[in-house]
């Protein structure tokens, strides 16, 4: 974050009809609507929560390192693992994916920003509000204790009388709003704002996967919204949705949760699939093998993900016919996923691979995810799952897919796009340490959990007695977890060291990896306006194709340098969406509404007032501040001359304004 350099005269800038102008300093970060800054905010916030979720994980592993552990005690343990799961899923992996999506998606489609920049800011601030709200439960001393899937009726008022589950319900509700807004925004962005010539099937795979994820979010979030509302009403207003004493069926919660929950796991993994689909071809010096199949398999996973949710309920007593149907449907998810794995391998096969850190992580995803996927397939056999479910074998499965799949992929993305975002590379030596520590620690932690699970160790137990054969591997796993932690610390050190070094070192250059996709047309770090002019897209991997041609022997030869191909970022007369206060104000209102629902409805008043004020301020705010940053008055109208067509489209996308009275 840049230092505070410019102080505003507050008088003029907080009015309803002006927009904030700061271009630097903290105020800029608060009011920014720049998708790149929002991406960075998402990333930084998610890493902050990752530290929290990771510390919770370490507490879990400390407690379980020895039999009859006493580090936490039963009550705290239950809260810790619940918050660990919730934090990691909703406050770490999802926002990290959102960080990449926000930063890269407009760049990859050659756009100036997203379709609704203010809404983009809004979704970040709402996410932050939700995340802080959720973790507030620790401070109040009443963290949720019902497990991340919060099975009723254990989460009802009778069995969970504290406020913990209210924090859970409201906190997730708030982050859900954020996801929904962001999903709608990005869908419109992808559909409407692609550079000239970029048909859907010339979009980078990462963009494709993000698009699929946004559709999953669009349709899955409302389902958990319903579930959380019902839970909230049960707990606070005496409704009877999950109270068996009044004749309710607790399985309703399970259905609603998992109808959301299974698409959710693909929401977690597909961004990472997208990332490594960019990394692997780049470092293999080959195009992605079977691009159409990669795209279609991603879509297929998205679709099939809707028809398998009850595989989480194989033993809950939903009836043999239902179990059979869900068991079979689940098995076939292995097919499109397998297509992906094999296509990555085929991409690497025959390549000339540079094993830089991003590639190490990407290759790690391919192997580690496969392990998790295969154990997933063993769960999908319903009879087998009756032995496996709710044991550490499941814990092993989902950490292999989530850590080994999603998180490692995200680390690949960090190393790959760091120069794009910050203008310098992360150090390779530290990067390799980072990778190897993580991969070793990860396998040490979660590998033994397969064994523990098959030996019958249940999950969510705060302690186990000696004599069940669990001692050795638990200790082993705990050691592994701390090795992961060292790996994470190495990453953080790398970030700091590399940033320090970059101050004196020469800039990274335009094309550090010899990359392929259009985001690299703009210089590093990306200038505020992204592109000087629109890029005409003629093919997939346009950037690469402008650099390389083929000589008469069919050999690949360089035809242009990166300097010739890239834009220099010198354009000054570009029109950017103006920053706004209202997103953060609106988001700030939501936690108050939440507290109101939990403690006293009076809190809802200031909360609701903030929200309303923000909405109206938002609507009446001039769409573009004539004096805004990089703004040049008079752009509100269509240009009167006949500019080159690129520039016109360019202009239109610059004016990605929003009316926002609705929705």
């Amino acid at each position: 974050m840049s230092d505070v350099t410019e102080l505003e005269t507050p008088g003029g800038s907080i009015g309803v009809y002006t927009r904030p102008k700061a271009n630097t300093g903290w105020r800029d970060w608060i009011t920014t609507v720049d998708h790149k800054k929002i991406g960075i905010l998402y990333g930084a916030t998610a890493m902050f929560f990752f530290a929290i979720g990771g510390l919770e994980a370490l507490l879990i592993r400390l407690q379980l390192a020895t039999p009859d552990g006493t580090v936490l005690g039963a009550d705290t343990y239950n809260r810790v693992f619940t918050m660990h799961g919730v934090t990691m899923v909703f406050l770490v992996i999802m926002p990290l994916a959102a960080a990449f999506a926000n930063y890269l998606l407009p760049l990859q489609i050659g756009a100036r920003d997203v379709a609704f920049p203010r809404m983009n800011a809004l979704s970040f601030w709402i996410f932050l509000a939700g995340g802080l709200f959720l973790n507030m439960a620790w401070i109040v001393g009443d963290a949720p204790d019902g497990g991340w899937f919060a099975y009723a009726p254990n989460t009802g008022m009778i069995f969970s009388p504290g406020k913990g589950m209210d924090y859970y319900a409201i906190g997730l509700q708030i982050t859900g709003i954020a996801s929904l807004i962001s999903a709608m925004n990005l869908i419109v962005t992808v559909l409407n704002m692609r550079a000239p010539g970029m048909t859907l099937f010339k979009m980078p795979v990462f963009t494709w996967m993000i698009l699929v994820v946004q559709f999953l979010l669009l349709f899955a979030v409302p389902v958990i919204t319903v579930a959380l509302f019902l839970l909230l009403f049960d707990r606070n207003f005496g409704a009877n949705f999950f109270n068996p004493e009044m004749g309710a069926d607790p399985l309703l919660w399970q259905h609603l949760f998992w109808i959301f929950g299974h698409p959710e796991v693909y929401i977690l993994i597909l961004p990472s699939f997208g990332i490594i689909s960019e990394v692997i071809p780049t470092f293999s010096r080959k195009p992605l093998f079977g691009y159409p199949f990669m795209v279609f398999s991603g879509i297929a996973i998205g679709f099939m993900g809707w028809g398998v949710w009850a595989h989480h309920m194989f033993v809950s007593g939903i009836g043999p016919i239902s179990v059979a149907a869900f068991s079979v449907s689940t098995m076939f998810i292995a097919v499109p996923t397998g297509v992906k794995i094999l296509n990555w391998l085929a991409t690497m096969w025959g390549g000339r691979i540079r094993f830089n850190t991003p590639m190490l992580f990407a290759s790690g995803v391919v192997s580690m995810f496969t392990i998790g996927g295969l154990s997933g397939v063993t769960h999908s056999l319903a009879p087998a799952d009756t032995q496996q479910t709710d044991t550490y074998y499941i814990v092993a499965h989902f950490h292999y897919v989530i850590f080994g799949g999603a998180l490692l992929g995200i680390f690949a993305g960090f190393y790959f796009w760091w120069p794009k975002v910050f203008g310098h590379l992360l150090d390779e030596k530290w990067g390799k340490w980072n990778f190897w520590l993580m991969i070793v620690g990860f396998n040490m932690t979660f590998g033994p959990m397969h064994i523990l699970g098959l030996q019958g160790m249940s999950r969510r137990i705060d302690s186990y007695s000696p004599g069940f054969g669990f001692e050795f591997w638990n200790m082993f796993a705990s050691i592994g977890a701390f090795i992961i932690a060292v790996g994470v610390v190495v990453f953080m050190v790398n970030v700091v060291i590399s940033a320090r070094r970059a101050r004196t070192a020469p800039p990274v250059g335009l094309d550090p990896w010899d990359a392929r996709s259009p985001e690299w047309f703009s210089p590093n770090p990306t200038p505020a306006h992204n592109f000087d002019e629109d890029i005409q897209i003629n093919s997939l991997d346009e950037f690469w194709h402008r650099k390389y041609g083929e000589d008469e022997d069919g050999r690949v030869v360089r035809v242009a340098t990166a300097e010739e191909v890239c834009q220099d970022g010198s354009a000054t007369d570009t029109h950017l969406p103006s920053p706004s206060y209202w997103p953060v104000v609106l988001a700030a209102g939501l936690p108050f509404v939440g507290f109101g629902l939990m403690y006293t409805l009076w809190f809802c008043v200031p909360g609701g007032a903030l929200v309303l004020m923000a909405i109206y301020g938002w609507i009446f705010e001039p769409v573009d501040d004539p004096d805004g940053p990089h703004g040049h008055g008079g752009h509100g109208d269509e240009p009167t001359e006949d500019p080159p067509s690129e520039e016109r489209a360019d202009d239109a996308s610059a004016e990605t304004t929003e009316e926002a009275p609705v929705g």
Binding site: M184, G247, Y291, G549, D551
Partner: protein, 212 residues
């Protein structure tokens, strides 16, 4: 040596569906697209509430059963009111598109009034039900019923709020033909809420409900 020629590009499975004009973008308004995307999402929200209701409609315990208390003639009238508000909504839009500001205001106001009438009917219905012993906590059925119709009512109320905002904007002279798209988008929302009620009215009220 002759200059290198471009590489063979990957075979691409272009779809025609998206290629408008420039071959990119849909050529559609961002805002309208946003609203439609949002409505797609709302389908799953209401779907969840409706399924919850259906699962619980026969679980009324010792409380009143749906078949005992629904007042079909009354609800028919208020459903009709809501249906007609969709008509006035399109009329408002079409007036504005013609540049007929006066009629636009009249129809906007009528729509809001019809909507309020519907909400009034719902409030009346709720109070009657409560008087007849169907409280929010009476049974899973009652909770599901009030939640579903309440969510719908909140949607209608938000719609009324938007209509009133449009009206104010119109009175201030900022709602002109160029901005008819805003009215169209609010209209989409309004019609959606109506369409949901068409569903609810049939499935929840008209399909015979269990009686105690």
């Amino acid at each position: 040596m002759r200059p290198p020629r471009p590489l063979r590009r990957p075979p691409l499975a272009d779809t025609a569906a998206v290629s408008h004009g420039h071959g990119t973008g849909t050529g559609l308004s961002d805002n309208k697209l946003l609203m439609w995307v949002f409505l797609g999402s709302e389908c799953l929200l209401f779907g969840g509430l409706i399924s919850t209701y259906l699962i619980y409609r026969s679980r009324f315990g010792d409380g009143p059963a749906p078949g005992d208390i629904f007042d079909i003639p009354f609800t028919s009238v208020s459903s009709f009111v809501l249906l007609m508000s969709s008509l006035t909504m399109v009329l408002a839009l079409s007036a504005l598109q013609r540049g007929d500001i006066r009629n636009n205001r009249i129809w906007l106001l009528t729509t809001a009034l019809l909507g309020s009438l519907f909400i009034g009917g719902q409030v009346y219905e709720f109070t009657t039900f409560v008087r007849e012993g169907l409280g929010y906590s009476t049974s899973p059925f009652s909770s599901a019923f009030f939640t579903l119709t309440g969510f719908h009512g909140v949607h209608v109320s938000l719609g009324i709020l938007m209509l009133m905002s449009l009206l104010i904007s119109s009175l201030r002279g900022t709602l002109t033909t160029e901005r008819s798209e805003t009215v169209e988008i609010v209209g989409l929302y309004w019609h959606f809420v109506d369409v949901v009620w068409i569903f609810i009215f049939t499935v929840i009220y008209l399909v015979p409900s269990p009686t105690s």
